[in-house]
């Protein structure tokens, strides 16, 4: 009964969202009353939809297994936390959450933007129609409200043990918040195109929303990377998995977008870029949803599929994107600025980097699509892996960073002037050269790309430290959060390069009580225990590792076998220190009684996530500082 009520609320909300869209497109949105009406319908509709979701959460907590989806993905023995997170552990429920977030962004926007301009009403209209599209997708092809009557199962199903991890419970929601957060920028851009009045400055407001969405997207990707590292036992931070790639593309587009925004919120000079990028960011987010949910690509992420879903999503995304692009080309003339971009101005550097970002997005898309095209034509499966992406990403990223360095010096709409003596650029240049030379000479870094990355990374860091110096001692104005985010970038480049250069791994065959030496570390296989957990049995190994200074510590990698599905999982054991992680996983036992043990030394891997965290936090503070200026 309750579940039918929840479904009814969702259907009602769908109708009201559609009404919002109709009002915002076909009514006179210059009328303040209409604007207020649209805003009011939107919030009512959002509350109906939210209560439907809350009822669903309540049903999940109370083990209502007459709801098919809950019966399939939850279990009476799970802690409450996992009962809730089981909602987004599969397709239907995660789509539900995705739409909740989509409309939540719209609701927050609706509440917090107080100027009753036509732009606001139109934006809400665009957000509404996007929400309606996804709601219909939910109700027609992936209904989470379906019931299982009579005879609901008593205990529910056992959920995939790999997914029973606190980090994984938070990873999808943050990622979704990031993905759908760009609906505000998209909505404003489309509203701006519909209005067709080039004097409206839509960019200023959007910066705040987009930077927050960008921070969530970065956070979601980082959490996913960390989870794969310790839970899946893959032992790295990035695998160029197709679904990682479809999250990377909106991230790249979003990064280009927020930089272009800062240019075009000052003058309308990069408007074509910002409009196009805002459409691109949101389209790529939707494209990600399509790839994951149509089952086109096999991956750890893909959901069980149904071709109808793919077709529906493709049609919906296609209509949304094509309409936006037609609108874009129809209004092209009002987007063209009569000012020219001054060469060597800040705008010029941002445009150049937009082209670089575009190249990266295009190459990633090529890497995702090439296997599909190949399969389509030749009926064979191939995969595009790290060598392809590395060959493109490394040089282009470094080049883009070089332009970033020059852009620090440059000014809006005026030519960069080089002052050769006492120039901070020269100082940081010399400093980075020195660092690179030191690491070449004393730390046996010899690969050219690592040295180049080290050089560029230190160049970014030292240059921005000089910016901070000027900020503190010469009161030279700068947005300190943007500086911190770019320091994160410098650190990220250095950590990735060093991780790539120093990390190593080896598979050992080792018996109990034997000792092997790997890279000045003595690894002793001390003991092997059979233990039993609440719903699994496990083999737990005990290793003592002694480094050359005589420090000892123990690591306990595990292999678990879960009773219900018979699934086997590997629990990694990680010893983390400032510079490196010692990462141990156990494999199978061989016939002679020895075990295969994989030892990895992962250098600077914590630094990669630390840099990402620095970027995320600076992003959030940056958005906060922007909001204070505007309101």
């Amino acid at each position: 009964m309750i579940i039918e009520a929840a479904q009814f609320l969702t259907i009602l909300a769908t109708g009201l969202f559609f009404l919002c869209f109709v009002f915002s497109i076909f009514f006179n949105v210059n009328d303040v009353n209409i604007i207020k009406l649209i805003s009011r319908i939107y919030s009512h509709s959002f509350f109906l939809f939210l209560s439907s979701f809350l009822i669903y959460v309540w049903l999940a907590i109370n083990d209502n297994f007459s709801v098919l989806y809950i019966a399939q993905h939850s279990n009476t023995n799970l802690p409450v936390f996992y009962k809730i997170s089981s909602i987004w552990s599969a397709h239907e429920g995660s789509m539900f959450l995705w739409i909740i977030f989509l409309s939540l962004w719209g609701a927050i926007y609706n509440f917090s933007v107080h100027n009753n301009e036509p732009l606001k009403a139109r934006t809400i209209g665009v957000i509404s129609i996007t929400t309606v599209g996804f709601l219909l997708f939910l109700l027609l092809t992936s209904n989470p409200f379906e019931t299982m009557l009579p005879l609901p199962p008593e205990n529910g199903a056992d959920i995939n043990p790999v997914l029973q991890d606190p980090l994984l419970a938070i990873h999808p929601p943050t990622l979704y918040l990031g993905y759908v957060g760009f609906v505000i920028a998209f909505g404003q851009a489309i509203a701006f195109l519909i209005e067709g009045n080039s004097s409206i400055n839509w960019e200023k407001q959007v910066r705040f929303w987009s930077i927050i969405a960008w921070s969530f997207l970065t956070l979601g990707i980082t959490l996913g990377s960390w989870w794969a590292y310790y839970e899946l036992g893959w032992g790295g931070y990035w695998f160029w998995d197709p679904v990682e790639n479809v999250a990377l593309m909106p991230w790249l587009a979003a990064t280009a977008f927020i930089h272009s925004l800062s240019a075009s919120s000052k003058s309308s000079i990069l408007r074509i870029w910002t409009i196009l990028l805002s459409i691109l960011v949101f389209s790529l987010s939707l494209f990600g949803a399509f790839i994951v949910r149509s089952g086109i690509i096999d991956s750890v992420h893909s959901f069980a599929n149904d071709p109808e879903r793919g077709l529906y999503l493709l049609a919906f995304i296609g209509i949304l994107v094509m309409t936006s692009l037609i609108l874009f080309s129809y209004r092209f003339s009002i987007l063209i600025s009569n000012k020219r971009i001054v060469s060597l101005s800040k705008e010029s550097f941002i445009s150049i980097n937009n082209i670089f970002f575009g190249t990266l997005i295009f190459s990633t898309m090529l890497g995702v699509m090439y296997p599909l095209i190949y399969e389509f034509v030749n009926d064979q499966k191939i995969s595009v892996g790290a060598p392809f992406y590395n060959a493109i990403f490394v040089p282009i990223t470094l080049l883009a960073c070089l332009f970033l360095i020059f852009s620090i010096e440059s000014k809006w709409q005026s030519k960069l002037k080089f002052a050769f003596l006492n120039n901070p650029l020269i100082i940081s240049f010399v400093f980075s050269l020195f660092i690179t030379f030191l690491s070449f000479k004393f730390y046996s870094v010899s690969r050219a790309w690592t040295l180049a990355s080290l050089f560029i990374g230190s160049l970014i860091i030292s240059r921005y430290i000089l910016v901070i110096y000027a900020y503190i001692f010469h009161r030279k104005f700068v947005n300190i959060y943007s500086v911190l985010a770019h320091l994160g970038l410098g650190l990220l480049i250095i950590s990735i390069a060093l991780n790539n250069d120093f990390s190593s791994e080896r598979a050992l065959n080792i018996k109990i009580n034997e000792t092997e030496t790997y890279k000045n570390h003595e690894i002793t296989f001390n003991n092997l225990q059979l233990t039993e957990g609440p719903n699994y049995e496990s083999v737990k190994a005990d290793f003592i590792i002694e480094n050359k200074n005589g420090n000892k510590f123990s690591l306990n990698p595990e292999k678990r076998k879960y009773f219900v599905r018979g699934q086997i999982t590997t629990e990694t054991a990680i010893h983390a220190s400032l510079l490196k992680d010692i990462y141990l996983t156990i494999g199978d036992q061989l016939d002679d009684g020895s075990w295969i043990v994989n030892v990895q030394f992962n250098y600077f891997i914590r630094w990669i996530w630390f840099s990402a965290t620095l970027m995320i936090i600076s992003g959030l503070f940056l958005a906060r500082s922007l909001n204070r200026v505007h309101s």
Binding site: L68, A71, Q72, M148, L151, P153, G156, A157, D158, L276, F290, S294, G295, I296, D298, S302, A304, N305, D306, P307, G310, L311, L314, I317, G318, V321, M322, L325, I326, F328, S329, F332, I336, M369, L372, I373, E375, F376, V564, R565, G566
Partner: protein, 176 residues
């Protein structure tokens, strides 16, 4: 120049969506389906209801093999369709996967029995040899060869899109 740019952007994105449309319309989009031919592994396993041993010789000719378990919720949803298939005369062999005997028998009593006979594969030995990753999964075998394999729930649509074409092509199940 600007006209060219506009038309270019529109055409490229249209082609992009058209490609995915073509891809989806091809029957390759069922990632659960595989049509690689392989030999049916040799097995000797107990019947679910008795101590009789079932071997390869019991499944000569064309058969469906359906992997199921009482702990599998999706199997319950699939079950109704299997009952319908068996009433149309399609021979289905059940492969009870990693399940307690008593649970499995109770389950069948409750929801009906579409199977000719059911193999009790407690340790998942045969399932492992056949490349089963979970339940439900369904195999189509003909004269000791696996000719189709589907991971996931078989329903009306999967039956007509994945299984029917190959059944027609190989001219199977015609004697009924």
């Amino acid at each position: 120049m600007t006209v060219f740019l506009r038309v270019f952007i529109l055409c490229v994105s249209l082609m992009f969506f058209y490609f995915f449309y073509l891809y989806i319309e091809e029957d390759k989009y069922y990632p659960g389906a595989s049509f690689q031919t392989s030999n049916m592994p040799l097995f000797e396993l107990e019947d679910l209801y008795s101590d009789d041993v079932i071997t390869n010789s019991d499944i000569e000719g064309a058969h469906l093999i359906n992997v199921w378990a009482s702990w599998c919720i999706t199997c319950r949803i699939e079950h109704g369709f299997l009952v319908k298939l068996s009433s149309q005369g399609i021979p289905i062999m059940g492969l009870n996967y990693k399940d307690a005997r008593i649970d499995a028998i109770n389950w069948i009593t409750k929801f009906g029995d579409p199977y000719e006979f059911i193999i009790h594969d407690l340790k998942g030995e045969l399932a492992l040899d056949m490349g089963v990753t979970g339940a439900p999964e369904t195999f189509l075998i003909n004269n000791g060869k696996i000719i189709a394999h589907y991971r996931g729930e078989v329903n009306e649509m999967i039956w007509s899109d994945v299984f029917s074409p190959i059944i027609k092509k190989e001219n199977l199940f015609n004697d009924n």
